[in-house]
């Protein structure tokens, strides 16, 4: 492990120069020789930077320059760059930073996405996003969040945090929490790039492969999640002939290899569940018992109420909606999923199948109140009206 400090540049005058540079570069663009320019600024503050200049010149571009994209031959040819990027990923995804800040910083510093684009992705004003990024960078410097790949003892926990950020990034693009379009492809593409990068850099980590496989399956289905008018389509309504078979096969290879290598973690299990769905020729002929079994295993390694809810959906397919409804009601009483729109939406679907249309309509409306995404709102409003008409 390299014990390089404080994201390397961020002390005292250097910090000043850095902040000034960021301000000025945002205004005027990055100068031809950023290192030299920074040194000049820092000298003006009266501090001797001779010893630090080298660190400054070698490390600052890491923070500010656009990185080569994954798949860019330079990444393969230059393992040092890969190493530095991995360190940067672990710094940006540090649990001492707020989750939103982790995602935004990763986009900015690891993927080189301009602040304005990140702001658009998260539906906030650019100055708001700039302020969030600045605050996070300041904390990295002030609290000395290390710029390093964690030790072997810490790696599993910290890798989980990194994979969670990438998953969150994909999820944000996959079902944007608000806005007119259901999918923000740019965020999904970036998340997939990152998943590929982390898997390449940590080839022995099975969960890195698991996350990559999971995102590949999501990606294979992305074109079919909405119809031509942008309306949300459920899994059973999607045109499976449009799913990208090459991506699904690639995911399958990764999952099989990960499962063979040892006990699966939560990303590998989620990928396996997604792959079982993706391999079924139709919704009705899905191997539901296998999906329930995979959810049982997933709940064992990751006892989240969201997992329990998804398991209930699979139970409904194996044992019928009457068997699944009590499982959903237990989760309702649990309270941890209060505010989670898929809980009332799932309950509504089960009630619909049980012919309890008035209760189903209420549940659809409860879900409707919890989403800001226009495509989901249209879907839920339509379902609620259909239930009303059936009573």
């Amino acid at each position: 492990m390299r014990v390089v400090r404080d994201i390397d540049v961020a002390e005292e005058a250097v910090q000043d120069a850095y902040v000034q540079a960021l301000r000025r570069w945002e205004r005027d663009g990055i100068p031809d020789r950023p290192g030299a320019w920074l040194t000049t600024v820092a000298r003006r503050t009266g501090l001797n930077l001779l010893q630090r200049r080298r660190t400054l010149e070698t490390k600052l571009p890491l923070l500010l320059d656009r990185y080569p994209e994954p798949g860019d031959p330079r990444v393969e040819e230059a393992p040092v760059i890969g190493d530095d990027r991995l360190r940067l990923v672990f710094t940006c995804c540090h649990p001492a930073l707020a989750p939103e800040a982790q995602v935004a910083l990763t986009l900015r510093l690891v993927c080189g996405v301009p602040t304005a684009d990140i702001a658009r992705g998260f539906l906030v004003a650019e100055p708001t996003m700039a302020a969030r990024l600045t605050r996070a960078k300041k904390k990295i410097a002030a609290a000395r969040i290390p710029y390093a790949v964690p030790t072997a003892a810490e790696l599993p926990e910290r890798l989980d945090a990194v994979l969670t950020v990438i998953h969150l990034l994909y999820a944000t693009g996959h079902t944007a929490p608000s806005g007119a379009d259901l999918v923000r492809h740019e965020l999904c593409d970036r998340a997939l790039d990152l998943a590929v990068l982390v898997r390449r850099l940590l080839p022995d980590e099975r969960e890195a492969a698991g996350l990559h496989a999971l995102l590949l399956v999501h990606h294979a289905r992305r074109a079919t999640r909405v119809d031509g008018s942008g309306k949300l389509l459920r899994l059973e309504e999607q045109d499976r002939s449009q799913w990208d078979r090459a991506l699904i096969d690639e995911a399958d290879r990764l999952i099989v290899a990960a499962l063979r290598a040892g006990p699966p973690g939560r990303f590998t299990l989620q990928a396996a569940i997604a792959a079982v769905h993706a391999q079924a020729p139709g919704y009705e002929v899905t191997d539901w018992p296998q999906i329930v079994a995979l959810y049982d295993e997933l709940f064992r390694v990751w006892p989240s109420p969201v997992v329990a809810l998804n398991r209930a959906v699979a139970v409904a397919e194996v044992d019928g909606p009457a068997a699944a409804l009590p499982l959903v009601e237990i989760l309702e009483q649990d309270g941890r999923l209060d505010g989670y729109r898929y809980l009332p939406a799932t309950k509504a679907d089960l009630l619909h199948r049980l012919g309890r249309h008035a209760e189903a309509a209420d549940a659809y409306r409860a879900a409707l109140r919890l989403t800001d995404n226009a495509a989901e709102q249209d879907f839920l409003a339509e379902r609620a009206s259909a239930e009303d008409a059936s009573t």
């Binding site: 400090r5 540090h94 001492a96 002030a142 609290a143 000395r144 969040i145 290390p146 390093a148 964690p150």
Partner: protein, 124 residues
């Protein structure tokens, strides 16, 4: 200001928040009290160092001053109160977190912050 012996180390403050029982600290569990005796050595064994420690009287003995008003009780009423703190030397935040996790706690948690200044006035 204190001198940093190790120029690559950073100083952190570990703030200890505990749920204050009625007779705190007399009813602190003996194993927690015992662990407090041993924490210095444990932290040194992991490459860190405790520079100073401060134990506070219970929140019920606090007096707060805000503007001109003097009131009984702590400045901020919370379920868990500030019970004490220590100053820690660590390589970086990950190291500081590793060490702070070793803080003996009865029913609460700790907060880690970078130290900006620590002053002991010279005797005049």
């Amino acid at each position: 200001m204190t001198e940093q012996n190790d120029p690559t180390a950073t100083q952190y403050v570990v703030l200890i928040y505990e749920r204050m029982s009625p007779n705190w600290p007399d009813d602190v569990p003996p194993e927690v009290a015992q662990a407090n005796e041993e924490v210095d050595a444990k932290i040194e064994a992991r490459g860190g160092r405790i520079l100073a420690g401060v134990a506070l009287g219970p929140a019920s003995t606090a007096t707060s001053i805000r503007g001109g008003a003097i009131t009984d009780g702590p400045f901020i009423e919370t379920k868990e109160g500030l019970a004490g703190l220590f100053l820690l030397e660590a390589r970086d935040l990950d190291h500081a977190i590793e060490l702070a996790r070793m803080t003996p706690i009865a029913d609460g948690g700790v907060e880690v912050r970078p130290l900006l200044g620590f002053m002991i006035p010279e005797p005049s």
